[in-house]
């Protein structure tokens, strides 16, 4: 999923301060799952903002709405009326959702309520971890399904570096050394020899280094 984290109340207050009628728009898929931008978070944030502005002696009318996904037209249209009837939208979707709404409603300011952090998983209760950077050329098969681009602090393809200690990364002892994981897994799979071969420099064109990416699916074009 796309993992996001809600911005601080102070930052959100600053962003929305110029507006009197505000729609707080939640997103019911990824960011709901990571407890950052679903229905519950929309409700909590709305109450906190109402209270905060009231304390400051400022009036603001907040409308709440959560749609299934802010990155798909089918759902975005469900919010059209609410968006058009407010001065601004505070979107609790990921960066893609925020921009999708903004693209479709040119005269309404749309602002982010979250910091979109990474493509990751719920590792355990209360802990989300980054697993993928969306580089566009997946090599997980080679590395025992542990991604050195996303999970090694130095993106080493011929790792590990000299800072791997007791399975931890030198950058942060709480972070697993991706190369230790790669080695352990390939050893368990009897494929450690995979790592003896030189790995070529990565062709970054498939990543965002090649500029904004598009995916064209001819078979889906009507």
């Amino acid at each position: 999923m796309i993992v996001g984290n809600q911005k601080s109340l102070a930052e959100i207050k600053e962003i929305v301060a110029p507006y009197k009628n505000l729609l707080i728009l939640g997103c019911g898929t990824c960011v709901k799952t990571c407890f950052a931008g679903g229905e519950d978070e929309v409700a909590t944030l709305s109450s906190a903002l109402r209270l905060g502005f009231k304390k400051d002696g400022k009036e603001i009318l907040i409308q709440e709405l959560t749609i299934e996904r802010q990155c798909e037209d089918e759902f975005i249209q469900e919010a059209a009326e609410n968006i058009n009837s407010n001065d601004a939208v505070l979107s609790l979707a990921c960066g893609a959702g925020v921009q999708a709404i903004a693209k479709r409603f040119k005269s309404v300011p749309v602002m982010p309520g979250l910091n979109t952090t990474f493509i990751g998983i719920l590792e355990k209760q209360g802990l989300f971890t980054e697993e993928c950077v969306g580089c566009g050329d997946c090599r997980l098969a080679q590395f025992g399904s542990v991604c050195p681009i996303a999970r090694c602090s130095k993106k080493l393809l011929n790792g590990p570096c000299g800072g791997s200690k007791n399975g931890s990364c030198e950058v942060d002892a709480e972070t697993d050394c991706a190369w230790q994981l790669i080695i352990d897994r390939l050893k368990a799979l009897g494929q450690l020899n995979n790592l003896k071969a030189y790995v070529q420099p990565k062709d970054w064109r498939s990543s965002n280094a090649g500029g904004p990416r598009k995916l064209v699916r001819e078979d889906h074009i009507i």
């Binding site: 602090s153 130095k154 993106k155 080493l156 393809l157 011929n158 790792g159 590990p160 570096c161 000299g162 800072g163 791997s164 200690k165 007791n166 399975g167 030198e170 950058v171 050394c177 190369w179 230790q180 080695i183 352990d184 790592l195 003896k196 030189y198 790995v199 070529q200 420099p201 990565k202 970054w204």
Partner: protein, 310 residues
């Protein structure tokens, strides 16, 4: 690589002499006199001097410029180059530029992560890793081609070095990594500081059995200890460092004003032990901001005068 001698360091190692290299950290400023002063301290007691490349991710004078200053002062640099700060375009360009300035030795590194440095808010690059950099240099030199396959009119010919840490985890993978560096084209290897001679001997034995000591010259790292505090700091805080308890105890066991003496004694004992290990072709003395110590250590170790290579 054809057999012609590329650098003084190459010459020393090629004829089977025991090589001595040390290190010079460029200043956090633009004054070339700092390099001149350090050059004076190292002259005639080492074969070549490593010039660090923004070590520990702290911004300093560039290793290319500082290497050029060393050359002007009559010392041979081993220019360190990290892949943290430059993408493949900048790396290749800087290699050619360095060669044009007379720099003939290079040590290829990935580099300390920027979060350790003074500007942790920086964006890192890591476009390629150290092994890919070694391969790049090797192909430039031996095939005359850059990474795109373009035939270079006058390719840089560098004596290529790599670092190895025999003490980092996972231990069983360390030899595979060394082997990958040598296969990629490393001519010489400089290791992490050796305090745990036994563990180092074990690593060297495996390297020897794998035939790696025949393919590359291994220079063992040495860092003289100044105090018990330094020993403990390195043991606990420096990633990939193995300082055995016995060493810390020895440093702890002497009064503070005798610590440097004890540190030097440990250092000389280590050098003596390393010289007995098959496949160790030299030492690399990293006396961090303590360049004046190097001449004393090299002299006391019986490694002076340095061979004359021209």
């Amino acid at each position: 690589m054809n057999n012609s001698i590329i650098s003084k360091l190459h010459g020393v190692l090629a004829r089977g002499d025991f090589a001595v290299t040390s290190e010079c950290g460029p200043p956090r400023g633009a004054d070339p006199d700092v390099i001149s002063r350090k050059s004076g301290l190292l002259k005639n007691c080492v074969d070549a001097v490593n010039v660090t490349d923004n070590q520990t991710a702290i911004v300093r004078m560039s290793s290319i410029a500082a290497s050029a200053h060393l050359l002007q002062n009559g010392l041979e640099p081993v220019m360190q180059m990290v892949t943290r700060d430059r993408n493949r375009i900048a790396l290749q360009s800087d290699i050619m530029g360095a060669y044009s300035l007379g720099i003939r030795n290079i040590l290829c590194l990935t580099g300390d992560h920027q979060t350790f440095g003074s500007q942790p808010d920086a964006l890192n690059v890591f476009d390629i890793d150290s092994i890919q950099l070694i391969r790049t240099l090797c192909e430039m030199r031996d095939k005359g081609r850059d990474m795109s396959g373009f035939d270079l009119k006058s390719p840089p010919r560098m004596f290529i070095g790599a670092a190895a840490n025999p003490f980092a985890d996972p231990f069983e993978f360390r030899i595979i990594r060394l082997s990958k560096k040598i296969e990629a084209g490393a001519d010489f290897i400089q290791t992490q500081c050796v305090y745990n001679v036994e563990r180092f001997r074990e690593w060297m034995k495996t390297a020897h059995e794998e035939g790696l000591t025949e393919k590359a010259h291994i220079l063992a790292g040495i860092t003289p200890l100044k105090s018990a505090g330094m020993a403990r700091y390195m043991a606990d805080r420096v990633a990939g460092m193995d300082v055995p308890e016995t060493i810390i105890k020895r440093m702890d066991g002497v009064p503070k004003n005798r610590a440097i003496e004890e540190g030097t004694r440990i250092c000389l004992e280590t050098i003596a032990a390393l010289r007995e290990i098959k496949g160790v072709h030299g030492i690399h003395i990293m006396a961090i901001e303590w360049e004046e110590k190097v001449a004393e250590i090299v002299g006391a170790a019986g490694l002076l005068p340095r061979p004359d290579i021209n």
